[in-house]
């Protein structure tokens, strides 16, 4: 089963809409609440990343009987040094974003913590592709 959600860049008031939709779907599919929680937390972080850094993006969700695969692709500045971005507390967020309670530099590490597999690739000035896989059983 496939679903696609659009993510609008720089609109924090809508951040979380896509991950909430995925949550609803997983609840209907009778997925273990603990797995739902992990998945939704990682998707929410990824969604906020797109809102905070990119111009726009898509969240493509594919649900298989044994796993959920989510690809988040954005058009944006990209990440020059992914290893650095994976460090806890590293953040490029502007003071304005931090004021809103985002940008503590926990994004990618938190996604990794809450997913079973995580793949990330990025091209500077093009965009970032993030793949999150969580097993449902």
């Amino acid at each position: 089963m496939k679903f696609t959600f659009f993510i609008e860049g720089e609109n924090f008031s809508k951040a979380g809409t896509a991950s909430s939709e995925v949550k609803k779907i997983l609840k209907q599919l009778n997925v273990d609440p603990k797995i739902i929680k992990r998945t939704v937390v990682s998707l929410y972080e990824a969604e906020v990343n797109v809102v905070a850094h990119a111009f726009e993006g898509n969240m493509n969700v594919e649900i298989f009987p044994d796993k959920i695969v989510v690809r988040i692709e954005d058009k944006g500045p990209g990440i020059p040094d992914i290893d650095k971005a994976m460090e806890k507390g590293f953040s490029t967020a502007t003071p304005k974003v931090r004021e809103m309670g985002f940008g503590a530099g926990m994004g990618l590490p938190n996604i990794k913590k809450n997913s079973d597999e995580m793949n990330i690739s990025s091209k500077v000035n093009v965009g970032t592709k993030l793949e999150i896989v969580n097993y449902l059983k």
Binding site: M1, G16, S20, K27, Q28, L29, N30, Y44, P65, L136
Partner: protein, 455 residues
Amino acid sequence: MEKAHFYHALKVVEEVCIGCTHCMNVCPTSAIRVKNGIADINKNACVDCGECLNSCPVNAIIVEQDDFSQIFHYKQRVALLPTVLLGQFPDDISEKQIYSVILELGFTHVYEVDETADILTEVTKTYMQKHHQERPFISSFCPAIVRLIQVKFPALVEHIIHLKPVIDISAIFYREKLKNEGFSDDEVGIFYVTPCAAKIAAVKSPVGEDKSFIDGVINMDFIYNKVLLSIKQNKSKELKYELNKHISRRSIGWTLTNGEASQYSGRCLAIDEIHNVIEVLEKLENEEITDVDFIELRACDHSCAGGVLTTENRFLAIERLRKRADWYHRNKPIILEKKEIEEYRPYLLENISIKSIEPRSILSLDTDMMEAMKKMEKINRILKVLPSIDCGACGAPRCQALAEDVVQGKAKMTQCVFLQKMLTKEGLITPQESFDISENTWGVKRFEKKNINDH
């Protein structure tokens, strides 16, 4: 699953219900459908919040209560009162008068349930230190909220504090006290005067307990009427009640918004009204709200002062309760005599925990994930042909709800009036068939010929 069958205090009086869909549209768990022109409540989904009762224009939804005369089955008859009861009466009626009338009605003891809030606050503090990994803590105070979390937010069940609410602590305290005074267990009857439907459901089908500690429930509006009637008719000859107690500010404010959240250190939130609560629970579940220590959640607007069985305007009631708290604080600032409840502290602490609270999601389409996926695909296909205006004319609150009902075999797609018109136009069903479907949803009466000139 804790029990196959859940007791609900909210009942639809079929003779009165006009099948108007008001309740169906406001139900926060989409538990209501209109069938045969009458509202039908799904017992698995209902959380007894009372939104339906508030929205009903003809008072067809009632709160079922126990027969009052049953109190006389017991030698010792204890009335457990919610503190909000005292806020219902005009200022010229005294606390002493109210208590006296309640005794005259046949009770042998009166006790305000929130008096045990002091003990619970203390135990909750230790509990939160001990189980710090379960942050944020959600209060177990409001039974409608506990049920809401069970059915809609199963991932949050483990955050509910596994301690008894004050109503149960007070009940076990008073029972034990009377047993120590020489009465046997079956001589003691404990009755709770309730400001809402959810507390009744909590007594009749408790969550996290094998059995309830309360023998019966009496609706607060019933007591309100009895007290006012007796006072207006000057029936009370003498005031039976001796006012010799101290109720703390904490106890009097306990059931009002922020009554609990104001007691604990750290980041504490207090949220009232069920839609506000749902909004916060969604965010909590996504971990959009983090770093919160304690959350007080109440289903009614302005907490228990807004309960469906209250009679006074909630703002006036709250003001009176605040005044009452101030009075106790000013006039009896120090508790002179040792409170009786202190002797029972060890006993209460021993019995204060509750067992596990099981999630029972109403959202999953099927226990088997493959089946659930098939059903979801079907629902999405059905939704494409439904008009998505959520008119409710099919007897379900939203197009989404009808699609789910169809897939679960609880409804037919042709209940949709838009589809009916399309099918009739294309000659796939006859006008008579279309009419019959509508009659099934809305009842025969609704379609009886009415002459406009008669009105």
